[in-house]
Symmetry: C2
Subunit: 120 residues, 2 copies
Amino acid sequence: MISPVNLSEKFRLFHETWHPKIVGEVNDMYVKLAKLQGEFVWHRHEEEDEMFLVVKGTLQIRMRDQDLTVREGEFVVIPHGVDHMPVAAQEVQVLLLEPKAPKHTGNVVTDQTVSDLEWI
Amino acid sequence: MISPVNLSEKFRLFHETWHPKIVGEVNDMYVKLAKLQGEFVWHRHEEEDEMFLVVKGTLQIRMRDQDLTVREGEFVVIPHGVDHMPVAAQEVQVLLLEPKAPKHTGNVVTDQTVSDLEWI
């Protein structure tokens, strides 16, 4: 059986920040949900573009040559190879789309790197 | 420059139904927006999964062995090879995610097949 995924219900299932959860797959990509608060680490994905769709809150994305503000109901695609640092002054809920392969911290491994991605 | 894409603003740019518009790309997939109203054609995508995220309204998706209701704030992934027919009793706004390759009517070519996908 195929079931729809309700974003609000899924977001109620976890509280950790910077710890994406898998909620779907579309061919070779995962659909993930994450709660973000505070600053993440500067990183880039060498080969994978990454889509951030803001479901709740306002996300800042710092890049080397520009800063972005992504509001509720907006998305942005960070192309592969582009250094970026997500920043959330207050909690932000995002839907992420990225290839199944990469670590979410891209080329950098830090305390914020999550290696045990789980389905919820 | 990288710019966020505002879904509401993009939806205001077109009125045609069953005519997806490209608003982004993430590696080998397109992010598309579409307005749906009425019945689409039964079809399947032989190799490509397809994600429907309902931004506004309520989408019905008929399949051979079940019917789905996908509400605002919900998404569903129709796996490749699965016959499906989207139905929208009233206008529905959806964000679609699918590989760049396929026609949106999959294995079927009808009057509803759009071959000139355009960016907005």
